[in-house]
């Protein structure tokens, strides 16, 4: 397979990326993906150059999705951001937002205290001071991480095994999604393996300009996962940003041995279940559950080039009505919407989606991405859920 190459000269300056950039649509402070990406990259290849507007790029990938010439402006932006922070100090808030895993490790053991602390007026003053918005809640920590719940679970053993990469958000903040996924795989006669030597995929580190740390995590993850893919096991994610990072961004940003071998075995949970359906081995013994839902496709799923498998999968559930919101980026882009100077941009980007949700009269909004779900709940008050939750419900597992 053709290796990814960063080729700014493939850009014909057609402006397709600028037209579809959600950030450029709501602020004129960002020069847009064409100028900050391929146009400046030509100079960066020759000499050190910095673009102050680069900080506005949210790495949502809409530029890559819409480029007719196969250029990835977002990758150029993230590489340039990494270069910038080699010579400039990071802000404390950037460290905090880029290290969701370390924050989770610190806070999870005393989740109740940490969650209470986040609402404490003094904490709020401190957050504001370092540049984290207090207009939205930080993600709550679960009282028990996914990994500790999973280790305590007695699974039925099956010859078919899959490897689950839970990612930080599911592990520390939303473990029930992981447990739902395990229940779904068990209902399909699969045993789930959760490796204990993987780390944060690195997505928030890349967005925060901690490129070297992200590369180190990537290295470890590929090593750990390769041991399992070499046994023939597929690797499955329920988080579309982890999935994109592992299967695509690692190859765009870093050079890691074995990355292609692992990428070839990576699946999004919904895509994997649809493949089981194609093979005639999906358990379709779903119980009836009524409900009218709207589906929001995360940008990091759309960038994977696999369509919207959750929509097709959920349409197999009897009596579930599911409609594609198709209203663009939600605006949060992981850590981006938590920065106090980006909060308003983030909410302005999400406005189309929020309006679509408010006008839909749906019982809930389904989305594969944890931070998309947070943004939707924050922007509309809607009930949000991961596709695996509806599938697990369909098996009567909750």
């Amino acid at each position: 397979m053709k290796k990814h190459q960063n080729l700014p000269d493939e850009c014909t300056a057609c402006t397709s990326c600028v037209v579809h950039c959600p950030v450029a649509a709501v602020t004129s402070k960002f020069r847009g993906p064409k100028l900050s990406g391929p146009a400046l990259e030509r100079y960066r290849l020759l000499l050190h150059d910095e673009d102050p507007s680069l900080e506005y790029c949210s790495n949502c990938k809409n530029c890559d999705i819409t480029c007719p010439s196969g250029v990835s402006p977002s990758t150029m932006n993230m590489l340039a951001r990494g270069e910038y922070y080699k010579k400039h100090p990071h802000r404390l808030r950037d460290w905090i937002l880029a290290h969701a895993e370390k924050m989770g490790q610190m806070n999870s053991p005393m989740a109740a205290v940490a969650n209470m602390g986040a609402d404490n007026p003094l904490t709020r003053i401190a957050l504001k001071k370092i540049g984290i918005t207090t207009k939205r809640r930080l993600p709550k920590y679960a009282s028990r991480t996914f990994v500790s719940q999973f280790r305590a679970l007695k699974q039925q053993s099956y010859p078919d095994k899959i490897v689950f990469f839970p990612g930080c958000f599911i592990n520390y903040n939303d473990p029930q999604v992981g447990m739902d996924f395990v229940a779904v795989m068990q209902a399909n006669r699969y045993e789930v393996i959760v490796p204990d030597d993987t780390e944060c995929c690195g997505s928030p580190m890349v967005a925060g300009g901690y490129l070297e740390e992200a590369a180190a995590n990537a290295q470890k993850n590929i090593q750990a996962l390769r041991r399992l893919t070499d046994k023939g096991y597929p690797v499955i994610t329920c988080c579309t940003s982890c999935g994109l990072m592992l299967k695509r961004e690692y190859q765009e940003l870093f050079r890691i041995d074995g990355v292609e071998t692992v990428a070839a075995r990576l699946y999004d949970s919904t895509e994997f279940l649809l493949e089981l359906y194609d093979q005639g081995r999906l358990n379709t013994g779903f119980i009836r559950q009524n409900g009218k839902y709207l589906y929001h496709a995360p940008c990091h799923l759309r960038a994977q080039g696999i369509g919207r498998p959750a929509l097709e999968l959920l349409r197999l559930l009897p009596d579930i009505e599911i409609t594609d919101a198709d209203a663009g980026c939600c605006g949060i882009s992981g850590s981006y919407g938590f920065k106090d100077d980006k909060y308003d941009i983030s909410m302005a980007i999400g406005e189309d989606l929020f309006r679509t949700i408010r006008e839909s009269g749906a019982d809930g909004v389904v989305s594969d991405c944890g931070t998309c779900r947070m943004q939707i709940a924050h922007g509309t008050g809607a009930r949000t859920l991961h596709p695996m939750t509806l599938v697990a419900n369909g098996y009567g597992k909750r």
């Binding site: 397979m1 014909t12 037209v19 847009g32």
Partner: protein, 414 residues
């Protein structure tokens, strides 16, 4: 097993028309796209045929159709097929709330940002040139800081053209209030007019600068959505007639048209996979059975009964070239090109047909790719839009016209 009736590869205008058309005939359709297509770059007016022969301008595209060689895609489809495709296009646009006007009997000569006139056939109502013809005085509006659109250039150019020479021109400057940050393009102005505050501000400025009933040429900025709401609201404030000219990329009218057809295709049941890098196809016994995508992770196959190729030309990435040879990557179809690469380009860059612009895949009247003997190469594959050989859209002004006519024909053939 999920299987589609039709897979359309490519999401430009030809692909959208083919996909929506097939879905309208109760086919289960999958559209694989890589990039947002060139529609929002090229523009949204539908050029059917502006020039024939060595550049003779046409008052009527219909008359020019009879002069085209048999190798031209229009000649293969015929007058009735062309009419059916244009009728379908106009019906859908009207149903979706963004009516196009015009017919093959006449060309509109619409003003451009360069102050020239360009022939085109089907246009949104806001490009209608009738108010310009009727007016004695024409206002030309510019926006402060708007890149690539200078009203003085429009006036200078138009004043040299006989039909406009006797008219009085006046330049009007409008201000979006965007005084900082990146350069302003037509897209920023159109987004400003999408907002209520923008429309209010613009209406106030128009009221101050214009007498009631004024006829005004504006850049293509009257909203990003396929709707006349922005134009109607602004025109109402003083009985004005606002006439959109063509502009440079990003092409706002093309963006409206893309949004309209993409929404319509999805509403009609078309499944869209974005960012899908199509790498090839699986062919058995002269029949395609599946399309392969190769993203950075792994290869995937998508199966269907029939297929439409609308990946574009050299610019859109649908055609490639190697020394001495033009190529098509998805089905490896033969691409007709002059044998001697020295003859791919005419030495005179403008003002003549360019051989490279006519390089493409030769198809029959059903849009099935054919070999030198005229026999279909693959029984269930059809080609539409700039993948096709035999027309120079830039020289003859026929780009969106060929996309619609051949895309619609492909939707009938699948």
């Amino acid at each position: 097993m999920r299987e589609y009736d039709v897979i359309v590869v490519g999401g430009g205008l030809a692909g959208l028309i083919a996909a929506a058309g097939a879905a309208g005939r109760n086919k289960k359709v999958l559209m694989l796209t890589k990039g947002a297509g060139t529609l929002a770059i090229g523009g949204g007016s539908v050029d059917l045929l502006g020039y024939v022969g060595e550049g003779r301008p046409l008052a009527s595209p219909e008359q020019g159709l009879t002069e085209l060689p048999d190798t031209h895609p229009y000649s293969k489809i015929g007058r009735a097929g062309i009419q059916a495709a244009l009728d379908y296009f106009k019906t859908v646009c009207r149903q979706e709330g963004y009516e196009y006007i015009g017919s093959p009997e006449k060309n509109y000569w619409v003003p451009t940002a360069a102050g020239t006139l360009k022939p085109t056939c089907l246009i949104p109502k806001t490009m209608d040139t009738a108010p310009l013809k009727a007016a004695e005085k024409i206002f030309v509006a510019g926006f402060h800081r708007l890149k690539d659109y200078y009203p003085q250039i429009v006036v200078q150019g138009l004043a040299k053209i006989p039909v406009y020479a006797k008219k009085e021109f006046s330049v009007v400057w409008l201000d979006t209030g965007m005084h900082e940050g990146r350069d302003i393009t037509a897209l920023e102005v159109a987004r400003w007019l999408d907002t209520e505050a923008g429309r209010r501000s613009c209406a106030e400025q128009l009221k101050k600068a214009l007498p009631p009933g004024a006829v005004v040429i504006v850049p293509p900025v009257l909203g990003t959505k396929p709707s006349y709401a922005v134009a109607e609201e602004l025109e109402k404030t003083g009985g004005y007639r606002l006439v959109e000219s063509t502009g440079l990329p990003p092409a706002i009218i093309g963006l409206r048209l893309r949004n309209l057809w993409l929404n319509f295709a999805k509403k009609s049941g078309v499944t869209v996979v974005e960012n899908a890098a199509v790498t090839g196809s699986v062919v058995e016994n002269g029949r395609c059975i599946a399309i392969k995508t190769g993203n950075l992770d792994r290869e995937r196959t998508y199966r269907a009964q029939s297929f439409v190729l609308t990946t574009g030309g050299f610019f859109g990435g649908g055609l490639g070239s190697q020394p001495g040879r033009a190529t098509e990557a998805v089905f490896d179809l033969p691409v007709a090109a002059p044998a001697n690469p020295e003859e791919w380009g005419a030495p005179q860059l403008f003002g003549t047909r360019q051989p490279f612009a006519q390089i493409g895949i030769v198809a029959d009247g059903r849009m099935a790719p054919v070999d030198a003997a005229g026999q279909p190469i693959l029984s269930n594959v059809f080609v539409a839009g700039r993948n096709l050989a035999g027309y120079d859209f830039s020289f003859e002004k026929s780009g969106n016209g060929v996309a619609i006519v051949t895309g619609y024909q492909a939707s009938l053939s699948v």
